[in-house]
C-alpha cells in the first residue's frame, strides 16, 4: 500500500485538508423534494456517519455525491475540484464527472459485484481499464487487497459462490483498488445475515483506524458511535442535527433525533 497518498488523520472536521465539500445540495424527484439543502465537509481522515430514518434521503445524498443521481442544485467540491454544474444541476462535463468518480470508492448495500468476473477480476477491472494501471501491477495490488479483507483463497472464485459477507468484503477491496480519496458506504451491512455483519464492520473499522476518509450511511448505531468523527442526522432531506458522536448519541438536542435513537436502540 506504499502507493497510497500520505493521509493526515484528523480527529474532527476543521483540521487537515478538505477531501469533500457539499454545499446546499438539493434533489427533487418530480414534485418530491428529497434533499432540501444539505451541506457537509469531510477533511482527510474524517469518518462522517450519516444516520436517519428510512426515506430520509441518505442514499440519495451519497448517490448525488458521485452523480449517480443528478443534483437539482448546490455545489460539490471533491479534492478541491469544483464539479461544474448547470443551473439545473446537470454536470457540464461528462469527463470531469468520470474523473471525479474514480476518486470515490462506492460500496453498495447489495454489493453489486460484476457476477461474470472473479473476485480478482472485479478488483482489477477499474484500475486496468479506467485508470490505465498496468495489468501485472494491478493484479499484485489486488491480491494484497483481497488478503487484507481475508479473501486470498477466493481470488479466482465468482461472486455467486460466496456469502454476502464475503461479497461485501470483496466489494470493499474493489473500492480500495482505485485508491479513493473518499469512500462512500451506503448501508454496507443492511443486506447481510446478522452473523455476517461483524466481519464487514471489522474491515471498515480497520479502514477508519488507518485514516481513510469516508461517508458512511449506517443503521448500526453502536458502530457509528465507535468509528465516526462526525455524525449527521438526516430527516426529511435536511440535516436535523449534527456533531461529534458523543454529543449526538448521548445528548441529542432535537426531539426527532431522540425518538429516532430510541426506535433503533
Amino acid at each position: 500500500m506504499n502507493s497510497s497518498p500520505a493521509r493526515e488523520t484528523a480527529s474532527g472536521t476543521g483540521a487537515g485538508t478538505e477531501a469533500i465539500r457539499i454545499e446546499g445540495l438539493r434533489k427533487c424527484f418530480g414534485e418530491l423534494e428529497v434533499l432540501r439543502g444539505v451541506s457537509l465537509t469531510a477533511h482527510k481522515g474524517d469518518v462522517v456517519a450519516i444516520i436517519g430514518g428510512s426515506g430520509s434521503g441518505k442514499s440519495t445524498l451519497l448517490r448525488c455525491v458521485n452523480f449517480l443521481e443528478t443534483p437539482s442544485g448546490g455545489r460539490i467540491v471533491i479534492n478541491g475540484e469544483d464539479i461544474k454544474m448547470r443551473a439545473d444541476g446537470t454536470p457540464t462535463h461528462r469527463k470531469q464527472i468520470e474523473k471525479a468518480r474514480t476518486r470515490l470508492g462506492m460500496v453498495f448495500q447489495s454489493f453489486n459485484l460484476w457476477t461474470h468476473r472473479t473476485l480478482l477480476e472485479n478488483v482489477i477491472e477499474v484500475p486496468v481499464h479506467v485508470l490505465g494501471v498496468p495489468r501485472a501491477e494491478a493484479i499484485e495490488r489486488a491480491r494484497t487487497l483481497l488478503a487484507r479483507v481475508g479473501l486470498s483463497e477466493k481470488a479466482d472464485t465468482y461472486p455467486a459462490f460466496l456469502s454476502g459477507g464475503q461479497q461485501q468484503r470483496a466489494a470493499i477491496a474493489r473500492a480500495l483498488a482505485i485508491e479513493p480519496s473518499v469512500m462512500l458506504f451506503d448501508e454496507p451491512t443492511s443486506a447481510l445475515d446478522p452473523e455476517l455483519v461483524g466481519e464487514v464492520l471489522s474491515v471498515i473499522r480497520d479502514l477508519a483506524a488507518e485514516g481513510r476518509t469516508m461517508l458512511l450511511v449506517t443503521h448500526e448505531m453502536k458502530f457509528a458511535r465507535e468509528v465516526a468523527s462526525h455524525v449527521i442526522y438526516l430527516h426529511n432531506g435536511i440535516i436535523e442535527e449534527e456533531g461529534p458522536p458523543e454529543a449526538v448519541f448521548s445528548a441529542p438536542k432535537s426531539e426527532r433525533l431522540k425518538q429516532f435513537l430510541q426506535t433503533v436502540a
Binding site: 449517480l68 471525479a100 468518480r101 453498495f108 453489486n112 460484476w114 461474470h116 477499474v126
Partner: protein
Amino acid sequence: MSHLVETLGLASSLQLLSLSPPGWGANLLRGLVNSLQIAFGAFGFGLVIGLFGAYGKLYGGPVVRDLLAVYTTVIRAVPELVLILILYYIGTDLINQMAAALGYGRVEINGVVAGIWVLGIVQGAYATEILRGAILAVPPGQIEAARAYGMPPFMLMRRVTIPAMMSFAIPGLANLWLIATKDTALLAVVGFNELTLETKQAAGSTRAYFTFFLAAGAIYLAVTLISGVAFKRIERWARKGQPSLRSGGA
C-alpha cells in the same frame, strides 16, 4: 452391407450424390457453402442491427424509439417470404437507380451480399427484441457500479453490459441462428443458388426428387445438430460465474 445397398436400390442414389460427376454432390455442397455464408453474414449483420436497435429502444429519444418500434413490428408481422421479395426487389431497384443516376449501366448484384442484406434486416428485428430483453435482465446494480467507478458509456457496454447479458441472450440467439440457416432456403425464390435451389435443380435434372430432397434435409439437420453443440459450449462460457441450475456446481 453391399448386398443391402443393392437390394434397396441405394446404389444409384449414392452414385447420384457422389461428389464427382455425374454425381451432384459437389453442387449440393456448393449450395451449402453459399447458404452458410449467407446465414453467418445475416446473423452477424442482424446482431449489429440488434445491438443498436436494443440500445436505441432502451435509451434512445422518442423519435428513435418510434422508428424502431415500426421496424420490429413490421418485420415480425409480415411473412418472411414476402419480406424477402420486397427487400430484394427494393434493394436491387435502389442500387440500379443509383447506378443509373451516376451514369453506370445495370449492376450485377452479388447474390451473397443481397442475401445477407435481406436476411440481416429480418434477423435484426428479432435480435433487437432478444438483446433488449437481455439488457433489461442485467441486474441494474452492476451497471450502476460501473458508472459509479467512472466507466465511460462505451466501455461500460463492452466490459459490463454485453458480457453480463450474454447468458440471457444466448438461448434466443441460438434459435435465431437456426432460423437464419433455414431462411436461406427462401432465397431460392429470387434465384439464388443456395442449398435448396441447388437441390431442386439436381432433382429436376435427374428426376430423383426423393433422393435429393432427403439428402438436403439430412444436411440441414446436420447443420442444426452441429450448431446445437457449438451453442451449448457458448452458453456454458456465457454462464460462467453462475451456479449451475441442474447440479449445483460444474
